[in-house]
């Protein structure tokens, strides 16, 4: 291999891509999408995933009277809800507007803390949720009740401490299941008090077990829609560069005879291919990494992320080279690439819906998102490394197919 030839061919590829306005536009579009994804929804998890698709992504806490409770709520919004919860003092907003209606934007919910209608009546707490999606507000509801209870516990303890009472009031609730635990405890207590009024032979038969409730996130499903979309963007970038652009431009060169001109120069077939083998995976990995880093900057330091990109780029290269060998014209190359994408994505979807597990295992596009998800959510396990190894095997297989096709058809 002669460096001046490789350098010239790589330089030529760079120039060709820089003059390809369509390709540049699509690349900028992808970067724009990544930036949008990065700008909106800094926090991941349930709220952002709901926000991007359905349910709520903003919760308005509208209150009519200030006080320590409101202050406590304001100061105790958890990190994952901080960008979603908005406090609004409503009196100022509706003064002089007796028939004022509060309108909430689409995709938002509200918790209204209205004053008591009668002087001795209870405060009104109203939960407003969109459509029939009662569950969508669950996250905010849980936070509200937990924080409200914590505030009142703190207030009671402060008063008790001030009056010299050493016995503190029950501790503030912790965990996401405190409501169910309390509810069940109350039920057990009610059953116990009922038992004390019944004859022993009947009472002995009444038995409700004590329960310990705990909520834990499922590791594999902990990623939100933001991660899913960013993984899809990264995967699409690899596909776009290696499976779409590579065969499309190679076939264009072949079609207009420039490939022949290069082949007749001192550049050998090996050097012409080597330049492409260097250029396309490098550009694909760089482009995919830019998209990934824009959405989740922390992946920059994740070795698994980089390994995944390299393996996926190598696999995409094999697919792209195979298409470049089979397709005769630029048009057929781009059509084949698009058809491939459609067939594979529908295939994966169909197999998943019909519980067919063997076929998707053979598709790089099945493993890619899983590995990228693991890398982006920083939840890489040994299983992910094994999957990476398996995907590397698939990449080798694809490149072997490309080699066979090249030997059989050349570049037509």
């Amino acid at each position: 291999m002669r460096w001046h030839i490789i350098r010239t061919l790589i330089h030529k590829e760079c120039l060709r891509h820089l003059s390809n306005r369509g390709g540049l536009a699509l690349s900028l579009l992808l970067i724009g999408m990544a930036l949008i994804l990065a700008a909106f929804g800094r926090s991941d998890g349930a709220t952002s995933s709901l926000g991007l698709f359905r349910g709520v992504h903003h919760c308005y806490v509208d209150y009519w009277e200030d006080g320590p409770w409101i202050e406590y709520l304001k100061n105790n919004v958890p990190e994952n809800l901080r960008t979603s919860v908005h406090f609004r003092h409503m009196t100022a907003a509706i003064v002089g507007k007796p028939s004022a209606t509060i309108n909430y934007p689409t995709g938002s919910c509200a918790i209204q803390l209205r004053p008591a209608e009668k002087p001795s009546g209870p405060l009104e707490v109203l939960f407003w949720y969109p459509g029939e999606d009662r569950i969508a507000i669950g996250n905010f509801e849980n936070w509200f009740w937990k924080t409200t209870r914590a505030h009142h516990c703190a207030e009671l303890n402060r008063i008790l401490a001030a009056s010299g009472t050493r016995q503190p009031f029950p501790a503030s609730p912790t965990g996401d299941s405190w409501q169910w635990q309390e509810s069940h405890g109350r039920f057990v207590a009610d059953v116990q008090s009922l038992k004390s009024t019944l004859p022993p032979e009947t009472a002995d038969k009444l038995c409700v077990p004590e329960l310990s409730v705990e909520c834990r996130p499922l590791h594999a499903n902990s990623s939100g829609a933001r991660t899913t979309i960013s993984a899809a963007l990264v995967l699409f970038a690899l596909f776009f560069v290696c499976v779409y652009l590579l065969p499309s431009l190679a076939c264009e060169e072949r079609e207009n005879g420039v490939l022949l001109a290069q082949a007749l120069s001192p550049a050998t077939s090996f050097e012409i291919i080597a330049a492409r083998l260097i250029f396309y995976p490098t550009i694909a990995v760089a482009f995919a990494a830019i998209l990934g880093v824009l959405v989740r900057p922390q992946v920059l330091t994740q070795p698994f992320f980089w390994l995944t990109l390299i393996v996926l780029a190598f696999a995409s290269l094999g697919i792209g080279m195979t298409i470049a060998c089979i397709a005769r014209t630029q048009r057929s190359a781009s059509m084949t690439a698009l058809c491939y994408m459609l067939v594979v994505s529908l295939g994966v979807l169909h197999c998943q819906q019909n519980q067919i597990s063997a076929i998707p295992q053979l598709m790089v596009e099945f493993h890619g998102p899983r590995m990228l998800n693991a890398a982006m959510t920083n939840s890489v396990t040994v299983a992910d490394y094994l999957e990476l190894l398996y995907t590397a095997g698939l990449a080798i297989a694809w490149n072997a197919v490309a080699t066979v096709c090249f030997r059989r058809f050349g570049w037509q």
């Binding site: 010239t8 207009n256 007749l264 001192p266």
Partner: protein, 284 residues
């Protein structure tokens, strides 16, 4: 002792399935020669050229270029030849200069040579225009500039002056003559008989894959000459006199003496006619 030939073709046969495109072709092209390869469509010119540029393996026979076998020692031959195809093949989105820069990089040619070549084909002023804005003639000249970039020892040209105006064609001829003066060997295929007469040292005429004539254009003229005089007399009548016949010669003298010849045109030799006579086919 004669120097070894630049190209030595012995018993070259190329088959496409059952179709024989080139049949037992023997040809020697000398160094420093401008050699014309002629023939009607399907004669085997393009196939022969394909073998010479390594795009087609011979079915039988051997081809040696500058002493190297075209199959076994292809890598030694590659840097030594230039090729001007009949169909232009440029990176249309790049400028003319950028196109040459890419190939200069592949041939490891200094940048100064790019400007030299552009100037030679008189494209230096249009060098920074995108090739897609070039006229057909400009594209053709850019092909020539690309082919001579690395000062090849052998230059293959497939219809180099097709679509060129008279002036551009003269530029191409001038460049070819300069290359010959520098010791290059040039092989061209053309359908332009005037061009063949003007610039070719020797000509091979192929028909149906076989070599049917091989000589200098002058020798072919002499072998296939055809001395005829076409006269238009004062009364408007037309006469055709064969100058090889005594009676016709005497008649011509009589008419000239009588002053009744309004116009006379001689056609001792016509390469086109000779070609048609040799190939027995319509010339395309």
């Amino acid at each position: 002792m004669l120097p070894p030939p630049a190209i030595c073709i012995q018993g070259l046969t190329v088959e496409y399935g059952k179709f024989i495109a080139v049949d037992q072709l023997d040809l020697e092209i000398r160094r420093g020669e401008l050699f014309g390869l002629l023939g009607p469509n399907g004669a085997g010119k393009s196939t022969t050229l394909k073998v010479l540029i390594g795009q087609r393996r011979p079915t039988n026979g051997s081809v040696k270029i500058l002493g190297h076998d075209v199959v076994r020692e292809w890598s030694l031959i590659k840097p030594k030849f230039g090729y001007v195809p009949d169909k232009e093949n440029h990176f249309d989105e790049f400028t003319g200069r950028r196109n040459l820069q890419i190939f200069a990089g592949l041939y490891d040619v200094p940048r100064t040579r790019i400007h030299e070549c552009l100037k030679m084909v008189e494209l230096d002023e249009a060098a920074d225009l995108q090739v897609k804005r070039y006229s057909l003639g400009m594209r053709k000249k850019l092909l020539l500039a690309r082919a001579i970039l690395h000062r090849p020892e052998i230059l293959y040209l497939d219809e180099p002056t097709a679509n060129l105006d008279v002036y551009s064609a003269s530029i191409v001829h001038r460049i070819l003559r300069n290359m010959l003066a520098d010791g290059s060997t040039i092989i061209l295929t053309t359908h332009n008989m005037k061009e063949v007469q003007e610039i070719c040292h020797r000509v091979a005429i192929l028909c149906k894959g076989c070599l049917i004539a091989l000589d200098t254009p002058l020798a072919l003229r002499q072998q296939h000459h055809h001395r005829t005089a076409d006269l238009i007399c004062g009364d408007g009548s037309k006469l055709q006199l064969n100058l090889d016949r005594e009676t016709d010669r005497n008649r011509l003298v009589e008419l000239l003496h009588a002053g009744s010849v309004a116009s006379m045109h001689t056609r001792e030799f016509d390469f086109h006619d000779a070609f048609l006579k040799l190939t027995g086919q319509a010339f395309d």
